[in-house]
């Protein structure tokens, strides 16, 4: 017997499934994998992803596949994060720091200077940030972050 869920509940169910996949596999699930995981048609997944994208936490590629499920990036970036034997990418330094914050785990972020690529490895251990001194620069004022999230 199937239980009918409201779109909000189903979206939350999909959201949790996506995060579980990222955490376990170190990469984004494809739309086909999401549909299989939830035993649902792809069109239902696509519609839910469109709704989740309205929160800005999820961003889709032109193909409809995930580009970002914040703080995880679905595509390789200059912000790799590893924790134990698992690794992910953040879309920016904020998201890279967000991965250990969300997982509440120690992690290493292999970042580098945005200007000269000088290595700037950051460590999060027992809830504390260790590593070199540095400055985070956000080029776009907060009210315009989502005008062009890729640039931001």
């Amino acid at each position: 017997m199937t239980t009918r869920q409201s779109p909000e509940n189903w979206d939350a169910h999909l959201r949790q499934s996506i995060y579980r996949h990222f955490i376990r596999a170190g990469r984004a699930p494809s739309v086909a994998e999401m549909a299989a995981a939830l035993s649902s048609p792809k069109r239902k997944v696509n519609a839910a992803l469109e709704r989740l994208a309205q929160t800005h936490a999820f961003v889709l590629q032109e193909t409809g596949e995930l580009w970002r499920a914040a703080p995880f990036s679905a595509v390789p970036t200059a912000f790799p994060v590893c924790s134990g034997k698992r690794a992910w990418y953040g879309n920016c330094i904020w998201d890279a720091l967000g991965i250990p914050a969300m997982l509440q785990q120690s992690a290493r972020i292999d970042a580098s200077c945005g200007c000269c690529n000088y290595e700037m490895t950051l460590l999060v251990e027992e809830g504390r940030l260790l590593g070199p001194k540095g400055i985070i620069h956000i080029a776009v004022p907060a009210r315009h972050w989502y005008d062009d999230i890729v640039f931001t």
Binding site: L97, C115, I135, I136, A139, A142
Partner: protein, 72 residues
């Protein structure tokens, strides 16, 4: 949102990209912001922050002023 070695490297990047200087925060502020934003993200009851909640989170970290306002 990029990480830089120093203020000078921020200025150099802005010149290279012909961009005005934006907002800056220390790494410690960045870590606090990451925790504010993402600590509850795996909760099944998570919902996006309202504008007021987001601006309050910025203010708790010391990120105040027009640059950090989400409306207006």
């Amino acid at each position: 949102m990029l990480l830089f070695r120093s203020e000078q490297h921020v200025d150099r990047w802005c010149a290279q990209w012909n961009r005005p200087r934006g907002g800056t925060l220390t790494l410690n502020q960045g870590w606090r912001l990451a925790k504010e934003w993402y600590e509850d993200r795996l909760s099944p009851h998570w919902r996006p922050k309202t504008v007021a909640e987001a601006e309050a989170a910025f203010a708790r970290i010391g990120l105040v002023g027009d640059f950090w306002k989400l409306t207006g």
